[in-house]
Amino acid sequence: MFKLSLKHVWSRKGRLILTALAVIAGTAFLSGVFVFTDTIKASFDRIFATAYEETDAYVRSGNVIEGEFGNETRDYIDVGLLDVVAAVPGVEEAVPDIFTFAAMTFDGEEVGEGNSPRVGSNWVDSDRTPWLIDDGRPPTNGSEVVVDRATAKAAGMNLGDTVSVTTLQGTRQFEIVGIVTFAGADGAGGATFALFDLQTSLEFVVGDTTKLNGILVGGDGSLSQEELATAIEQALVASGADESVETLTGKEIVAENQNSLREGLSFLTIFLSIFAVISLFVGSFIIYNVFSISAAQRTQENALMRAIGASRAQVTRSMFIEAMIVGIGGSLLGCVGGIGLASGILAFLNAAGFGPGDTVLELNPTGFLITLIVGTAVTLVCAIAPALRSGRVPPLAALRDVAIDNAGVSRRRKVIGTITVLLAIAAVAEGVADRAIFLGLGVALLFVSLVVLGPLVAAPVAKVASPVLGKLVGASGTMAGRNAARSPKRTAITAGALAIGLSLMIGIATLGSSAKASIREVLDESFVGDYIIKPNQQMGVLSPDLVAEVEGAGIGDVFVIGIAPARVGVEDELKDTTVITIDPEGATRLFTFEFTAGGFEQLTTTGVLLNEGKASSLGVELGDKVGIALLDGTTVDAEVQGIYTTDGYTDVLIHEQMVRDPSAAQAFDLQMYVKVDGGESGSASRALEAIVEKYPAAEVLSHDGYIDEFASQIDGFLNFIYALLLMSIFIAAMGIVITLRLAVWERRRELGLLRAVGTTRRQVRSAVLWESLITGVVGALMGVVLGSALGWIIVKTFEDDGLGVYSPPLQTIAMVTVMSVVLAALAAFIPARKAAKSDILAAIATT
């Protein structure tokens, strides 16, 4: 039987290729994700290992706060510890390590891409640091800087050029005297690095000559890394250093860096894998369809096999073996395709300056194995129903030529479909009230009902299309409608594959447009001023010089909010978070928060304002105490002096003067709000522009401009997701090609007959085209309904997280619908040409 299956697979090369294509497309994405992330991981692992090759121990503060956005802020250590560490026997060298925010602007432009880190550091002439001078010389005084080669290349910087650097202390000009590499690589993963001499980096980057981020320690070889770390720890304790100071071995610091990168990457892997799974899911529709069609086309052959004595199981098994061969072969080719996909993305990233540089692709067998198993399993699962159906073919099956399959509009299907939808609605209704399991179940059920109800959508659409198209385009329109109605199940599955991609696009677009509408509402409700000055970067820093200059210019009423990492909680259970620091007087004038109790006026340096949700989760009310700890050592038992319902800001607001030492607390100015007499005007805009122009890392935006900018950020994110979803749309389009191609093959006799009795090639082409368009319309219909449901669910789920407004993007929905129909038309091109070329004589030859 196996031999027979093999023979069968081989004898139908065309169909084999089409089936395999669906598997290949489904698995290539998955394999590509593995190759891509494995390669990135491996290359950064190497970079970190090289970077800390000469580091045997690392000393730093263990006091670290994880902010609300996943950003870690670690406390500084005392610069005096350098001498303590250097004096430990076995230590050859103790090197100060500084890395704190420092953004460069060059030639009137901000340096660096997007939200990648901007780092200021200290140059040390030592093997212990990863930095090597590539060109020029080290910085020797307070007006010189060296930059990493990737940044210099991207910004077009040369030795001798002047660069402007902004830190928490202000903005200064430096001359570039050197270009450095990071452990031999151009740069460190997209971050920009500005390296100063030690004194300058202490004063200007850290803002406190007594503080360091850490100490890199090199041993003299007499002790192992572990022994050295222990010796240092003992010396630190003996010196009376702060308890929070910790010592890591060189291996540990490498592993920590590698792990934190891995963590970031695993998020990326999961994120990308989701889209790979979506692609495979869409692909499975196609695989199922191909096997179904293939089984239908083999009805006669299977009947013959049964007649000459093959058992039911043998026929079924032969189908399974074929599926196995196609699954394994397709997945293997998918792996190859994944390698191509990954190298393409890496080349693109490298060209854009985000990549790890020239690297060898990391071909991890695990990724390929997973791809192979998943691809083969999906193919086999898709083959189950068709294989069982083949087995059920009776030996004396009527040797009909083309079966009309009316399955798919049965009563049972209607009942099951209705139940599924009701269950889905019930689960979703239960789930949006904060129950993720029900929500997931509901969404899954929605997709199931797409599969179940699909034929019930396809059948009436095709039935209506037949007379309508008949009127509009004549006989070919009538036939297109009839062909689409021929097997509503097949049409529905092809359309369903398209609908999945479309519905996700619509769902995501709804999320985007609702987020935009929500931020508009929040801003309109909470801010009465006219302008906002903010850093270009999402988590960027406003230069204190800029703030001072705007405040001094007297253009209007100015109000600054700052941000600080903090621990907040009750009864000594403080949790890491991020707080906003305000000047209550300014807030009273420019902010119109909705308070259920208290208000801005009440806020003192020992008080706190809380968002309603936060207050209830902490279980506090007006007048209760909340513990707040900052990195500068401030600990306050703060009184709750106001509770607000306005969303879109952080949950905790404190008085700016609660922060005693902003540089130690690593607090900084986040945004400036300006209110001008008489509102927004040309002269006010020009006056503000004139100041902000000098600080390219910041921008001044009008009320509407702020919303537009927010919208464009969302659009950037949406475009990224659309690009990932494009793969599944592409697979769905390929599904249309494959299904129609097989249908044309299946109907070759009929097409020959049609040609014989006077159907022109053009009419044959047009019939296939219209059939595809009907499929596209069915797909669009299902996609729009499902997508609208998904969009609504997403928005409702995050209603309390700043998505207060549900705003379906009608334009996108219309565009997506048109796109699916256009795609269907394009997909019909090849099958339509093939159909028009049907051989009349071969079709009517009596056999």
Partner: protein, 246 residues
């Protein structure tokens, strides 16, 4: 041999059809000249491989000649492009095949009027009614082919061939898949179409009984016309056929 005059519905002159080349060369038609008069029912007979199907395909514009010419009405087929040939088949030719005659997605009425639908015309309603009544399908018009018996399907095919009043109808073993009683029914319809409706039919068959319904039988062997017979009976045709075996 019959002269190809204005009264012929279709005909071939020195028709040659060669398949393959070199040693594999097959002369399916080897200089056939024949004419089919209007309003007559002609049968083409011959043993397997005699070229009878090839002759029909070439006469109907489904296949092209290697040399010689064929015409339908006054139109010379070799000068026509695919588009024009298609239109000719739609307007001037009717077909009845042995099997796979009908489009499975269309009902009986739609199959009958298919050539008219394709041309975008309503056709002559009175004529179509007459055809439908002649083949006795009035109560089966809304049925799909899969819901019709083999004989009913062939009657639909006959009706379709007649629907646009073609210059000539070609039938390729129209009763080959039917039992003898149903076959007789179909042949009877075809004869009535010629006698009562004035149609012209050319039928390829190897069944002497079927041939006996024709007004005239042409015998083909090895791509040539070897004999012809007027007002045939089954016995005479069978006798003639037996001689091919010698």
């Amino acid at each position: 041999m019959t002269n190809t005059t204005l009264t012929t519905a279709a005909g071939a002159i020195d028709a040659v059809k060669i398949y393959g080349g070199g040693d594999n060369e097959v002369r399916a038609l080897d200089g056939v000249t024949v004419g089919f008069e209007q309003g007559r029912f002609t049968a083409i007979m011959g043993p397997s491989g005699s070229g009878k199907s090839t002759l029909m395909h070439c006469l109907a514009g489904l296949d092209s000649l290697t040399a010689g010419s064929v015409h339908i009405g006054s139109v010379e087929l070799s000068t026509l492009k695919d588009r024009e040939l298609t239109e000719l088949r739609r307007t001037a030719v009717g077909f009845i095949f042995q099997a796979y005659n009908l489009v499975p997605t269309l009902n009986a009425l739609e199959n009958i009027t298919l050539p008219l639908l394709l041309g975008g015309s309503k056709g002559d309603q009175e004529w179509i009614d007459q055809v439908i009544d002649t083949v006795g399908l009035r109560d089966r018009l809304k049925h799909r082919p899969s819901e019709l018996s083999g004989g009913q399907q062939q009657r639909v095919a006959v009706a379709r061939a007649l629907a646009n009043r073609p210059t000539i109808i070609f039938a390729d073993e129209p009763t080959g898949n039917l039992d003898s009683r149903t076959g007789v029914e179909i042949l009877d319809f075809m004869r009535r179409a010629v006698r009562e409706l004035g149609q012209t039919i050319v039928m390829v068959t190897h069944d002497p009984n079927a041939a006996s319904y024709a007004d005239r039988v042409i015998f083909l062997a090895d791509g040539r016309i070897v004999d012809e017979m007027s007002d045939p009976t089954a016995e005479r045709v069978l006798d003639r056929m037996k001689r091919f075996g010698d």
